[in-house]
C-alpha cells in the first residue's frame, strides 16, 4: 500500500527507500517551503500584512522558467545547464517583477487602510493570477521538460548507505547559500539596517532618511525572487506545473511561517522543515493524500499551545 503512494509522489522516494531517505525527502521539501515562507514572513515583518498572493508569485516563477527554457531551446537548441541556469534567472526576474507590480498596484495605496483591505486585495490578486495562467497558459497541468531535469533527478550520491539525488543536494545547497546570504544581508548591511528600521517604525525610519517605499518594494522583490527559486526546484522535483500549485504550496509555506512565528526569519525556516518532515512522515504512515489534514492538525496544535509560533515573541498590538 505504501509503495503506491511513493510512485504517486514522483521522485520523492523510490521503492527501496529507508526512513533516512524519507527524512531527506522531507527536508528537501521543507527547504523549498522555507524559501517561500521567507517571503511571507519578511513582508509580514515589514508591513504587518499577510501577502496572500505570494503563492501565486511562486507559481509565476514555475511557469516563466518553463517558458524561458522553451524560448532558449527554440533559439539555440537544448543545452541543459545553460538553459536551466538562464531559466532560473529569468524566473527570478519575472517573479520579482510580479511581486513589485503586486505591491505597487494592490498594496501601496492600502497601507493605511483597515487590516481587511490589503488582505482582501491580496486574495483578489491571487485569484486573478491563478486564473490568468489558467486561461492563458494551460487549464491542465504542464510537465516540466524531463530532458532538463533528468540529470538532476536520476543521479544519486551514495552517502552512508543512503541515496540522495543531485536535485535534493542542489535544493539543500541552494537553500543553505540563500539563507546565509539573507542572514548576512539582514544583519550586516546598510540595506538590512534600513529593512529592520522600516519593520520597527515606518515613520521614524522615513524621518531619518530611509526611503521607506523603496525598502518595502525591495522586500517584495527579494521575497518573490526567493519564491521563484523554490518554484523552479519544486517543478523539477514534482515534474508538474499547475495553475493552482502556488495556492497549495503557499498554504503550506504560510503555515510554516506561522509555525515558526510569523515575522521571524529563522522561525520560518524551522517551521518549513517541520512541515516538510510532517508531510514525509504522513506519506510514510497514512499516504500522501492525508498531507493537508496533518499539516492543518499541526497548525491548530501550534496555535493552541504556542499562539505566537515556536520562535515568535509576544508583541502588543499597536493602536
Amino acid at each position: 500500500m505504501f509503495l503506491q503512494h511513493f510512485i504517486h509522489d514522483g521522485n520523492d522516494m523510490s521503492s527501496g527507500s529507508t526512513l533516512t531517505e524519507i527524512i531527506i525527502g522531507g527536508v528537501s521539501r521543507g527547504a523549498m517551503y522555507a524559501l517561500v515562507a521567507l517571503g511571507y514572513t519578511m513582508v509580514y515583518g515589514v508591513l504587518g500584512m499577510i501577502n496572500f498572493a505570494h503563492g501565486e508569485i511562486f507559481m509565476i516563477g514555475m511557469f516563466s522558467c518553463v517558458f524561458a527554457i522553451g524560448l532558449f531551446s527554440s533559439m539555440w537548441g537544448a543545452h541543459v545547464a545553460l538553459n536551466l541556469g538562464l531559466g532560473m534567472v529569468v524566473a527570478m526576474i519575472f517573479s520579482a517583477a510580479y511581486g513589485y507590480a503586486n505591491e505597487r498596484i494592490a498594496y501601496r495605496r492600502l497601507r493605511k487602510a483597515h487590516v481587511l483591505a490589503p488582505l482582501t486585495s491580496a486574495i483578489g490578486i491571487s485569484t486573478f493570477l491563478q486564473y490568468f495562467i489558467f486561461l492563458t497558459v494551460s487549464r491542465d497541468s504542464v510537465n516540466f521538460p524531463r530532458y532538463y531535469s533528468d540529470w538532476l533527478t536520476n543521479n544519486h550520491v551514495h552517502f552512508a548507505g543512503v541515496d540522495v539525488t543531485y536535485l535534493q543536494l542542489t535544493i539543500l545547497g541552494l537553500t543553505l547559500v540563500i539563507m546565509t546570504g539573507l542572514y548576512y544581508l539582514i544583519n550586516h548591511t546598510r540595506l538590512g539596517i534600513a529593512l529592520r528600521a522600516t519593520a520597527q517604525d515606518q515613520l521614524m525610519a522615513s524621518l531619518v532618511g530611509i526611503p521607506v517605499n523603496k525598502v518595502i518594494a525591495f522586500t517584495f522583490i527579494l521575497g518573490s525572487a526567493l519564491a521563484a527559486v523554490a518554484g523552479v526546484m519544486f517543478s523539477m522535483y514534482n515534474n508538474v506545473l499547475v495553475f493552482d500549485a502556488g495556492y497549495r504550496v503557499g498554504l503550506k509555506a504560510f503555515t510554516a511561517a506561522i509555525l515558526g512565528g510569523i515575522g521571524n526569519v529563522p522561525g520560518a525556516v524551522l517551521g518549513a522543515m517541520i512541515i516538510g518532515l510532517t508531510e514525509a512522515l504522513t506519506t510514510l504512515s497514512f499516504g500522501s493524500e492525508w498531507n493537508d489534514v496533518t499539516t492543518f492538525g499541526v497548525l491548530m496544535l501550534v496555535l493552541l499551545l504556542r499562539p505566537r509560533g515556536l520562535l515568535g515573541e509576544r508583541v502588543a498590538d499597536k493602536v
Binding site: 500584512m49 517583477a97 483597515h114 492543518f296
Partner: protein, 422 residues
C-alpha cells in the same frame, strides 16, 4: 504628458511581464521530453476579445464616475440617511412587500428558473452569514465553503445512518452543530490577530475536503446521494423544485430577520466596534474574544444550514462544495455587495451568481433573432465566453473595490451615518 508618464510606464511594464503568457505558447515535445515555445498571437488576441464586454462596462462606469464629479447624480443615494436609523422590525418595510412576492415564485417562473433562484437563495444565505464575520466584525474568513460542505455532509451522512432524516430535521440540527464547529475552530485563533482566522479556516476547508475525499463512507470524489423527502408535497400539492424554492426563501427570510435584529442590538454594536478598532473596543469593555467567537460561530451555523438546503435541493453532496473557488466566490459577493450591509451582501450574491449563469445561457442564444438584432456581432462571442473568465474577474473586482470603493456597492449605512459623518 508628464502626468500620463507613470501610467504609460505602468502599462508598458505590465505588457512586458504578461508578454510570454499572453503571446507565446508552450509546445511540449513528448518524444525527447523537451519543450519549445511558439509565437501565438491569436491566443492573446482571443483573451482581449473575450474580455471586450468587460472593457466596455468598465469604460461606462468610468464615464459615469467622471460625470458624477460635476452633477452628483448619486447624491440621493449617499446622502446622510437618517431616515433609516434602527426603525424596529418595520425598518426594512420593503422586505415585508418583497416576501409575499418572492413566495409567489412557483406560480411565476419555469422549473429551471426556479432552480436558479433557489441557488441564488442559498448563495444569499451564505453571503449573509459570511457578512457577519467579514463585514460586521472585520475578520477575514477564507474557508467559508468548508462549513457549507460540513452542513451538507452532516445531512448526507445522517441519512445514511438514520432511516428517517429529512431536511427539516437536519437543518435545525445543523445550525448548532455548525456553530459548534465554528466555535472550536475559532477558539484557538480568535484570541490572536484577525489574520490567523483567515488561514485557519482556509486550512480547515482544505483538510475537510481531503478527509471527505479519502474516507470510504463519505463516498470519495463522487460524493453521496441524498434521498429527498416528499412529506409536505401531498399536503401543499407542489413538486420538489417548488418545495425547495419556498423553504429556501422562508429560511432566508428568517436568517435576514435574525441577522438584522442582532446587528441593531448591542451585539451588533460590539461587532462594529471591534471592526473599527479592536484595542479601543476592548478598552471600553467590549468582550472582544466572545463577540468575535459569537460572530464566527453564527456565520458557520448559517453556512451549515445553507449546506443542508443545498443538499436537499440537488439530491447529492460532493467534495467540490468546499473548493477554494466556492469560498472566494462567496467572499467576492460580500465585498462587491457591501461590507457590513446584509442587503448589500445579498445583492452581491444575486449579481455574482446570476450574471455568470445568464452569460452561460447567452451561448445558447446565438441563433435567436432578437438577440442577434440587439447585440452587435463582435460582442456576441465574447459574451458567450465570458463565463469562463468569472474567477479572473472576481479577483479583479476584489482588488478594484478595495482600491476605489472599499465599502462595496451598498456599504454599511450605519457606519456612514454614525462614524464617517462625525
Amino acid at each position: 504628458m508628464a502626468r500620463l508618464r507613470p501610467y504609460l510606464l505602468g502599462i508598458l511594464g505590465l505588457a512586458a511581464i504578461t508578454f510570454p503568457f499572453l503571446w507565446l505558447q508552450l509546445q511540449p515535445d513528448f518524444t525527447n521530453n523537451t519543450i519549445t515555445v511558439g509565437w501565438a498571437p491569436t491566443h492573446g488576441l482571443q483573451f482581449f476579445d473575450d474580455l471586450l464586454p468587460v472593457f466596455v462596462v468598465a469604460l461606462l462606469i468610468w464615464i459615469a464616475n467622471r460625470a458624477n464629479r460635476h452633477w452628483h447624480w448619486d447624491a440621493a443615494l449617499t446622502r446622510n440617511a437618517t431616515w433609516q436609523k434602527a426603525g424596529g422590525i418595520w425598518e426594512s418595510w420593503w422586505a415585508w412587500i418583497a416576501m409575499p412576492l418572492v413566495l409567489c415564485g412557483p406560480f411565476l417562473f419555469s422549473a429551471s428558473t426556479l432552480g436558479l433562484f433557489t441557488n441564488v437563495g442559498i448563495y444569499m444565505l451564505l453571503a449573509l452569514g459570511l457578512n457577519i464575520t467579514v463585514g460586521m466584525t472585520g475578520l477575514l474568513v477564507l474557508g467559508y465553503a468548508g462549513f457549507f460542505a460540513f452542513g451538507a455532509y452532516f445531512f448526507a451522512l445522517g441519512q445514511q445512518s438514520i432511516s428517517f432524516f429529512p431536511w427539516w430535521l437536519a437543518a435545525p440540527l445543523a445550525f448548532p452543530l455548525g456553530g459548534l464547529v465554528g466555535y472550536l475552530l475559532g477558539l484557538p485563533c480568535l484570541r490572536l490577530r484577525g489574520d490567523y482566522l483567515a488561514i485557519v479556516t482556509l486550512g480547515f476547508a482544505e483538510a475537510f475536503r481531503e478527509t471527505i475525499r479519502n474516507l470510504d463512507f463519505t463516498g470519495g470524489d463522487q460524493g453521496v446521494i441524498i434521498k429527498t423527502y416528499a412529506l409536505f408535497r401531498p399536503i401543499l400539492k407542489i413538486n420538489g423544485g417548488e418545495m425547495s424554492y419556498v423553504f429556501t426563501a422562508l429560511i432566508l427570510f428568517l436568517a435576514v430577520f435574525l441577522v438584522q435584529r442582532l446587528y441593531h442590538s448591542p451585539v451588533g454594536r460590539a461587532w462594529m466596534a471591534i471592526r473599527e478598532n479592536e484595542v479601543a473596543a476592548a478598552s471600553v469593555g467590549v468582550p472582544v474574544v466572545q463577540m468575535k467567537l459569537l460572530a464566527f460561530s453564527l456565520s458557520a451555523a448559517i453556512a451549515a444550514v445553507a449546506g443542508v438546503l443545498s443538499g436537499a435541493k440537488d439530491g447529492f453532496v460532493s467534495p467540490a462544495m468546499c473548493e477554494f473557488q466556492q469560498s472566494i466566490m462567496v467572499l467576492a459577493m460580500v465585498i462587491l455587495g457591501g461590507l457590513g450591509n446584509s442587503y448589500g451582501a445579498m445583492l452581491g450574491a444575486a449579481l455574482l451568481y446570476l450574471v455568470p449563469e445568464y452569460l452561460k445561457r447567452v451561448s445558447m442564444l446565438q441563433d435567436n433573432a432578437t438577440f442577434t438584432a440587439v447585440v452587435p456581432s463582435f460582442l456576441r462571442d465574447s459574451l458567450a465566453h465570458l463565463a469562463d473568465y468569472r474567477l479572473l474577474l472576481f479577483g479583479a473586482v476584489m482588488v478594484l473595490m478595495m482600491l476605489y470603493r472599499p465599502q462595496g456597492l451598498l456599504g454599511s449605512r450605519r457606519r456612514k451615518t454614525e462614524i464617517l459623518n462625525k
